[in-house]
Symmetry: C2
Subunit: 101 residues, 2 copies
């Protein structure tokens, strides 16, 4: 397995608004255009967990400092997020299961 | 930061039943009793993402081979899960944000 990285972003919101959802969708589309982006899994109910996958740490750094993303990070801290946790991880092992029944 | 590990478990279900929810709750309680367990974040809507945190790879191996957990893994594959992905990751960096407004 070729090593790659995961960013685990866990957040709680003040309120789940359309404005927030639009921004999240836009950020997803923006991330897709970043060099080294590999994919994303995301779900929100009581909390939100988004895991994005990247080729290397440099790709993550570039995404973190993308100018539109920086702007949204600022607004997010001011307005949307009650709290969040970010963990940057090296994926060491993986296995997948698909049911064929 | 002391290195630790995260297991990212992403799954889709055939159906979200009470039986499934009970099992998930029981597994959470069982994990808490495992040596090297550090915590867990979990959410389900269209998909489920559960991230559990562990002191080292050995703690993850022990949890994977816990006899009650093995039993649930078997039933899960037969009955509950349409698909799942497991990724075992080393957490290299983390930062947290709490809004004080």
């Amino acid at each position: 397995m070729k090593t790659y990285y995961a960013v685990i972003f866990i957040s709680t919101l003040y309120e789940r608004t359309d404005e927030y959802e639009d921004m999240a969708k836009r950020m997803e589309q923006l991330a897709e255009q970043q060099p080294g982006y590999l994919g994303l899994d995301s779900v929100r109910s009581e909390i939100g967990i988004t895991v994005s996958y990247w080729e290397d740490l440099n790709a993550i750094r570039n995404w973190k400092s993308n100018i539109d993303h920086l702007n949204v990070q600022r607004i997010g801290k001011e307005k949307w997020y009650r709290s969040y946790k970010v963990r940057i991880c090296r994926v060491e092992k993986e296995y997948f299961f698909e049911n064929n029944k």
